[in-house]
């Protein structure tokens, strides 16, 4: 007997996300094909370079995955708290407890960062190592209900395994970036080493490698950003379904975004590497956003509010 449910998945979002991932896979295949083509055209040293980049890039990706919780906490200045560390920690733990019981999730570790920047993030390589961090600025600015909406959003990131997915997606870009650099230095210094007739060919191979890598890097960068935005929308949606209060998340978004725009840029530069896992990006919001939206990790405020409206309609629909 299947229980009746009023939660239908958002088909449009699913289709767009699938398409993005398909394109990312396509770029990957094209990249591999191009590299094989270049390598086969002349000699094995380029294969060695590519292998080196893959190993190094894989090391970076796995390292950042494994230490994501520690790195993120240290960068944000977050400190893990227990329920007995004051009223702020007590309430935060209470909210997380209930949301975990509601969603049947393992409770993540809870941390508070003592900074006025209103933000929150969840990271960690899997649900057992997940950590949820909220800044004191966020707790101060939001009502308990809005804060709960934000926490539900972050917990959805954990449930969706967004850290793993985004790490896997960035792998390609990391390799491409490494190859650009290696090829660039190879071009600079490789020419002078004097190995007879090989020099010119090595130079051409390096140039080709660099050109392919630059194209791959640019395309995958845009696709990763697009994927990141879709995953934010998905987390908004799941979070709002969990709490049953899309409007609380909406008002939290509005409050945080308008606050963000007022904060001077200089403070925020330090926060930029973490943007991908933040609740709202710590960047100055651009009014003429047409171009900047394709580079940003988070969807625009209007887009997020529009998607939450859909959830609201879905929840309010009378039984039938």
């Amino acid at each position: 007997m299947a229980a009746r449910t009023r939660y239908a998945p958002d088909r449009g979002l699913t289709v767009r996300m699938t398409a993005t991932m398909f394109l990312l896979g396509l770029v990957f295949v094209a990249f591999v094909a191009a590299i094989i083509g270049i390598g086969a055209a002349y000699h094995a040293s380029s294969a060695a370079i590519v292998l080196f980049a893959v190993v190094l890039g894989g090391g970076f990706a796995i390292g950042s995955l494994f230490y994501s919780d520690k790195i993120a906490l240290r960068t944000a200045g977050g400190r893990e708290v227990s329920p007995n560390d004051g009223p702020m920690a007590h309430d935060l733990h209470g909210t997380v407890d209930r949301l975990c019981a509601l969603a049947d999730m393992k409770k993540p570790r809870v941390a508070i960062a003592n900074t006025d920047l209103p933000n929150a993030f969840a990271t960690g390589r899997n649900a057992d190592h997940a950590v949820l961090c909220v800044t004191t600025g966020l707790i101060r600015r939001l009502t308990p209900e809005e804060l709960e909406g934000v926490i539900a959003h972050e917990m959805s990131h954990v449930a969706h395994k967004d850290v793993q997915v985004m790490t896997a997606a960035s792998f390609l870009a990391i390799i491409a970036a490494l190859l650009i650099r290696i090829a660039f230095y190879g071009e600079l210094f490789g020419g002078g080493r004097g190995r007879g007739g090989n020099n010119q060919n090595t130079g051409i191979i390096m140039l080709a490698l660099m050109a392919v890598s630059i194209v791959v890097y640019a395309v995958s960068f845009l696709l990763i950003r697009m994927l990141s935005r879709y995953r934010e929308l998905a987390a908004d949606r799941s979070g709002a379904l969990l709490t049953g209060k899309p409007s609380a998340l909406k008002s939290a978004l509005i409050r945080v975004s308008t606050d963000m725009a007022r904060i001077p840029t200089q403070d925020l530069r330090a926060a930029q590497p973490l943007n991908a896992f933040f609740f709202a990006p710590a960047m100055k919001l651009n009014a003429k956003a047409s171009l900047s939206t394709i580079f940003s990790t988070h969807p625009s405020l209007e887009r997020r509010l529009a998607e939450l409206d859909k959830v609201q309609q879905q929840l309010g629909r009378t039984a039938g």
Partner: protein, 193 residues
Amino acid sequence: MGFLDTLLGRTKPVQPKLDDLFALPSAAITLDAGAGFKPTGSGSVCFRPVEGRSFSDVQKDVQELLDVSSGKEGGLPVEVTTDSYGFNWLVSSHMSDELEALVTDLHAVNSSLVDNGFGPQLLCTLVAFRDDQERRLGLIYLYKRGTFYPFAPLSGERRDNALELQVKGVIGSDLKFEQDLSRWFPVWGAPGL
């Protein structure tokens, strides 16, 4: 959650498990025999309200249904309170020897919510017990896991962990107990306890 759901960033809301609740009356007898705790007759269902007309209609229907059933037997009407976390508690009070009627009431709340598609909103149900020394004990049923755990509050938001573990020892085999102690989350100030 399956691989595809992870890849596509979807979470299916978790449906509650309701049936294990009916094991409670027989476990209560064991609890009385083994630890001296008797049911107080009050119990509550905790759920997350959803914004919008549809949910408030369902909640009103449930309340009316329970009021009618308790009115027949001269019982107290059901109470609805909202806690500081924004969760609603629907408290049903019976005589201390009417645990089965109480469980039936609680089940009526559960099934109305599930029938109307709000099953994922159910958080937990709590049945209150007390011993001769007036120590308070709540048996909490987690809907999503289908498991029970004890909650024994002391004054000043402390828990009597020794008593909780004792209770687990007494009725741990009668009920489906929550084995993961990290999920025994406290419900301070729960109404009806």
